[in-house]
């Protein structure tokens, strides 16, 4: 990780028609990809546009390292009139590069994103996925140091997303460009992101390394956005078993005698949100005293999602489809649960 970020946001405040975006601190570094997550209207696109210097700030600043070029790929990229090649050359023409260099760089960028065969096509005739690739090639042709992507997987089918993710990953690794990517597709975000920034209502709710944010979201809204689908309200209690009193964590009562332990320490008597990722719930069948019953199970052939009734609480868990329990578990089955204390995350109830 380089010492100076390629692009740094400091105390940014931006007001547009009653909406205010506040981002105290966000760095984009060479070779790192930051996924910006958030619900609709949270200010994700506004943040990208502010980072691209396209919107006036109310206060704060966006600083770039010396000689740092920024390219933004919009959510709805425009195909300007003319051929695909002309479109890709446009930003190079803006930089007043000589014609031969424009040609070479545009061609290399089109190769990179698999649209070189379409170079002489009228850009107006491209499909959604092709236009998306054109926009990426157009951005990469300028060899930017910072690449800002606004919903790059919009309008793509599952195969297209996968292919584009792989292409992007390869290009990011090859070029060492700093990336910020806005997306509502958590899966693609996780495939590409080293870091995650979460925006809620125009405010930066959390920013950190990907796995830290996935395991320890700052609050229930962030937890939902990053796929921590099991969320309950509970109260931290004194551990009932004397032998466990030296356990360096907390016991939380989720209601009606249902208890869960967490490795995180919170003083007894405090109300907390309890979060558990579905993939961290282990199921076993055939034990003496089962905890829960399966209320429904659905599978897409790759991943199965089971909803369990756990003493009246709804618990969601993921299984690999077609293997082990993912193959045999049925509605109405009784199961025993194992949730490790270190996989049980506590968040303040505000």
């Amino acid at each position: 990780m380089s010492a100076t970020p390629a692009l740094a946001v400091r105390d940014l405040e931006l007001t547009r028609g009653g909406f205010t975006l506040r981002v105290p601190d966000l760095d984009l570094r060479a070779g790192e990809a930051v996924a910006v997550l958030g619900p609709n209207g949270a200010g994700k696109s506004t943040l990208l546009r502010a980072m691209a210097d396209l919107l006036p700030l109310s206060s704060g600043e966006v600083t770039r390292a010396a000689g740092c070029d920024v390219a933004l790929v919009f959510q709805r990229p425009i195909a300007f009139s003319g051929t695909v090649a002309r479109n890709v050359e446009l930003p190079l023409w803006a930089q007043r590069l000589p014609r031969t260099e424009r040609r070479e760089r545009a061609h290399a960028a089109m190769e990179e994103f698999g649209i070189a065969p379409l170079a002489e096509r009228d850009a107006a005739t491209l499909s959604g996925g092709e236009l998306r690739r054109l926009a990426l090639a157009r951005a990469f042709a300028t060899q930017p140091d910072v690449l800002l992507l606004d919903e790059p997987f919009d309008d793509l089918d599952a195969g297209g997303r996968e292919a584009l993710s792989l292409d992007l990953r390869r290009v990011l690794d090859d070029t060492g460009v700093a990336v910020a990517m806005v997306t509502h597709d958590l899966r693609q975000a996780l495939l590409l992101a080293d870091r995650i920034a979460v925006l809620l209502d125009g405010a930066l709710a959390q920013e950190g390394r990907r796995d830290d944010v996935l395991r320890r979201p700052a609050g229930p809204e962030v937890a939902r956005l990053v796929g921590m689908a099991n969320l309950w309200l509970g109260r931290v209690v004194e551990p009932g078993t004397p032998g466990l009193s030296r356990f360096p964590g907390s016991t939380i009562e989720l209601g009606d005698g249902v208890r869960i332990t967490s490795a995180e320490r919170v003083a007894p008597g405090i109300d907390v949100w309890v979060g558990v990722r579905p993939e961290n719930v282990k199921l076993t069948v055939g034990e003496a005293a089962p905890d829960a019953t399966v209320s429904s199970i659905v599978s897409d052939g790759v991943l199965a999602t089971a909803l369990l009734d756990w003493h009246g609480l709804v618990l969601r868990t993921h299984l690999v489809a077609g293997r082990g329990l993912g193959n045999t578990l049925k509605r109405g089955d009784a199961v025993s649960l194992t949730i490790r204390p270190e996989d049980t995350h506590l968040m303040p109830r505000s």
Partner: protein
């Protein structure tokens, strides 16, 4: 026949000059009205839109009042000159150019100007990209405006006076020859005027269809 040719050439010169001025003034105004939101914009757009249907004879009267010897611009002594006709036709063509330009700019995709800026395009190059994107609208504006001023008779009659050898154009010429009973000459001028109109319409159609193909 020389006389007819002279009238035809004068028509082209007067209307052509009016068109050039209308485009030079109207394009930037249309860009600004189509692109930016500011106080008073709505009024200006409404003015441009209603101006697209101005009766030429009323424009002629207004310009004549300005240019009349006792009028505010009377000192310029433009009345009954080709320059006065250019001025009157400019007033007719300007709202057409402004109105169609601003509509074309308004129909650009969301974020068009931001995306142009994000690519690093500024000033002249940004304007060139914009003109390319709205060129069909601009072409339509030019052809509609030229068609309108070539075929109008009220304004040129009012401020030009239809003076033989000085301010007679195709439309006023047709009227005069009919009144004089010179039907063959009138028909010849009418054929010229129709021919011009067809050439204009044909050019527009050809360009539109080439785009489709």
């Amino acid at each position: 026949m020389n006389e007819l040719l002279e009238v035809a050439l004068r028509t082209l010169a007067v209307s052509g000059a009016a068109l050039v001025f209308a485009v030079a003034i109207g394009l930037p105004i249309g860009f600004v009205l189509g692109r930016y939101r500011f106080f008073g914009r709505g009024l200006l757009v409404a003015l441009a839109n209603s101006g697209m249907g101005l009766p030429p004879v009323v424009v002629g009267l207004a310009v004549a009042l300005l240019l009349w010897r006792s009028g505010p611009l009377g000192e310029l002594r433009l009345m009954y000159t080709p320059r006065a006709m250019v001025l009157a036709q400019l007033v007719i063509a300007l709202p057409l150019i402004i109105g169609i330009t601003l509509a074309s700019v308004g129909q650009l995709p969301e974020d068009f100007h931001l995306q142009v800026r994000a690519m690093g395009l500024r000033r002249g190059r940004a304007a060139w990209v914009l003109v390319r994107e709205i060129r069909l609208g601009l072409l339509a504006a030019v052809i509609v405006a030229l068609g309108g001023i070539l075929s109008e008779v009220g304004a040129v009659m009012m401020v030009g006076g239809n003076l033989e050898g000085q301010t007679r154009v195709l439309t006023t010429g047709i009227l005069t020859y009919v009144q004089m009973g010179r039907y063959e000459d009138a028909l010849a001028l009418a054929a010229l005027l129709l021919g011009l109109t067809f050439v204009l319409a044909g050019t527009l159609t050809a360009i539109q269809q080439a785009r489709r193909a």
